[in-house]
Symmetry: C3
Amino acid sequence: MIVEERLRAMGLQLPPPLAVPPGVRLPFTPVRVVGDRAIVSGHGPQNADGSSAGPYGKVGAEVSVGEAYEAARGTALSILGDLSRALGDLDRIAAWVRVFGMVASAPGFDRQPAVINGFSDLVLEVFGPEVGAHARSAVGMAELPFGLPVEIEAEVTFRA
Amino acid sequence: MIVEERLRAMGLQLPPPLAVPPGVRLPFTPVRVVGDRAIVSGHGPQNADGSSAGPYGKVGAEVSVGEAYEAARGTALSILGDLSRALGDLDRIAAWVRVFGMVASAPGFDRQPAVINGFSDLVLEVFGPEVGAHARSAVGMAELPFGLPVEIEAEVTFRA
Amino acid sequence: MIVEERLRAMGLQLPPPLAVPPGVRLPFTPVRVVGDRAIVSGHGPQNADGSSAGPYGKVGAEVSVGEAYEAARGTALSILGDLSRALGDLDRIAAWVRVFGMVASAPGFDRQPAVINGFSDLVLEVFGPEVGAHARSAVGMAELPFGLPVEIEAEVTFRA
């Protein structure tokens, strides 16, 4: 459990499954495992109790780049939590493949990469440059569910 | 042809290939088959004659959540039509993998998941919880081609 | 080197790696190779010196469809440059798989396919209809990094 020990040493904790807000129905799986691929649904950051974490709003307006960087870092932890439950052990991850970083953007805000770096930095710190390397897009959305400022979907491969 | 019988029993019909509007050129394939993967281009709902189906506009403004849910359900039928032609038989689908649901969103509209549920609900009803399970994002776009309120791209794996 | 000869015969040149603007940090890889798949990060067009190429702004406002078509064509060259460095030889590409074409769109602009055709047309011209065929979405983003009017991510498979 090298990756999970590393997270603990960094003082980071993986959140439990998303506590779905009342009245909301999410008929899909957080991680779909097919062959040696694990495809990860769009995630946002969570609180320690599993609920969706703020801040909410558009980056470049209600939410600052620094806050959105932290939200992207928190999203990495949400995704690691679901990958840990889907794969049993994060050390099974063989390669990060694709990261699609979506930033709810106020008009004229074009620093999406600075936001999604919060995700990439954590993945590279925890998994190292070989396993952690990934292709990435960081782009500006009109709106995201529940007013999230950041939503990220991803794909990894893993070892049997 | 279990899946196609199930669709017929539900009174649902798969539309023919998209009737491309005059003056429009779409130089790509609706479904790209590579190995055991079928990658599905962005689709919208169709009429029975293959033409693009309305309503058009932004969800949260001209188009209601209920209408957009139906558009997402219609998009599932469009995709099933193209998958049926690409694979010969929908029973060959081994696993739904990834669904990327895009909703043209009026400012402040953040219930994209409630819209894309129209797609997920149909896939799960027709394919069941094991084959039909999928990773998903449901997000808010500034604009979609031809004024579509919903566009969905997807990936499935299939059996030889 | 059939593909690269064809590009030369067309008078086209592949740009060098992206010259990252000062003060920007992009902690990801332009192409992630996993098994026989090469997943390509979001790219925009480049100048011959590797810097990001204009025009900048929203399509349908500051940027015309014709200019954006050229930007999408330039993006294809950027991606081919990075694929060439990642794979050693573009002739190794076995199949174009997925093209996700993002167009920063002014309100009401819905001709994203006409823009991303600049990418698809070049790929099909250079690789031919069998290798070059691809699934595609062409959609309207609220904002793109650095004011880009077009950003494209992609996936190809390749031969050992």
